[in-house]
């Protein structure tokens, strides 16, 4: 993980680039389920994939596998966290890391 850390951030005018929005729209989102725990993997939209897992690790492993197939990103959301993007080993797949 020696690759340079990148941040998803707004441009100087506060606007996001179309490319970064496109990446987030087409990404697989991994995020905590509401209520009694567990994690979810979701593609955005009405027809997209949506699955639930017991642990974050399982959810991430599944999401990465699915993302490999369509060369999309995996975005991992954790509550109350500062967002960063970290280059992964595989091109086209990125992982959002939230420092504690």
């Amino acid at each position: 993980m020696a690759k340079a850390m990148r941040r998803l951030k707004a441009s100087a005018t506060g606007r996001l680039s179309r490319k970064s929005i496109q990446g987030a729209v087409r990404a697989l989102h991994v995020f905590p389920a509401a209520g009694n725990g567990g994690w979810q993997v979701k593609e955005l939209g009405t027809e997209g994939l949506h699955k639930r897992f017991a642990s974050m690790e399982e959810a991430i492993a599944f999401a990465k596998q699915a993302a490999d197939k369509n060369n999309s990103q995996v975005l991992i959301h954790r509550r109350n966290a500062r967002l960063k993007v970290e280059g992964s080993e595989k091109p086209g797949v990125y992982k959002l890391v939230y420092p504690r």
Binding site: K9, A10, R15, L16, A24, V25, R26, L75, L83
Partner: protein, 207 residues
């Protein structure tokens, strides 16, 4: 990036206060889903240009206008909020006194109830304002039906279909805004329109 075509541009004249946060994205989504370009005074932030000059420029470049008067009411200072009626007046003035292109303008006037305008802007009698009753679903359907009449030769998605996909978009919006650490209720207009434009191809209307 080239400017959107006059015939495709829809100027959305509405308040930008938190109480309107449920209606504004619904209007923007409907306009884009119907194949038009949503335009707003919020789309640019050039301090070198006065707000009224910016409004003149955007209004001149839009064939269509949606003017929501539903928040024309007394402010905390006991004075009426009159920006929306003023912008509607500019729009109607451009249609009446403008050049041949501007005389092709057409507009939709919205309010929260059908006849409320008679109490504060009765000169609009005959312009047939439509009521959205502060309901985003109702606003989606009214705007869609108006745009349908604007382009009768084209097949637009149905109002209920747009509403269903708009709700799906709203469910996805927290994940999108969280990806950029943004407040979903304080999105830049261009960020919102880009998100909608990128999201819609993944969720096409039922034909």
């Amino acid at each position: 990036m080239s400017a959107p075509a006059y015939e495709d541009s829809v100027f959305i004249n509405c308040p930008f206060d938190p109480q309107y946060a449920e209606l504004f994205p619904a209007l923007v989504f409907t306009v884009i889903d119907c194949g038009f370009v949503a335009r707003s005074a919020q789309e640019e932030d050039d301090s070198g240009e006065s707000r009224i000059e910016k409004l003149y420029r955007i209004i001149a470049s839009c064939k269509y206008g949606i003017h929501d008067l539903s928040r024309t009411e007394l402010s905390e200072f006991g004075l009426p909020r009159f920006n929306m009626p003023l912008e509607l007046g500019i729009y109607l003035g451009a249609r009446k006194f403008g050049d041949a292109i501007n005389r092709t303008k057409t507009c939709l006037i919205l309010d929260r109830s059908q006849d409320r305008y008679r109490r504060f802007i009765s000169d609009l009698a005959g312009n047939d304002p439509k009521a959205h009753r502060n309901s985003p679903r109702r606003a989606v359907i009214v705007v869609r039906n108006w745009l349908r009449n604007a382009r009768p030769q084209e097949q637009l998605p149905g109002g209920e279909d747009i509403w269903k996909r708009y709700r799906a978009f709203r469910r996805d919006l927290p994940l999108l805004t969280a990806s950029f650490k943004l407040n979903r209720n304080a999105l830049e207009f261009l960020d919102l329109t880009t998100m909608i434009n990128e999201w819609l191809p993944l969720n096409p209307p039922r034909r």
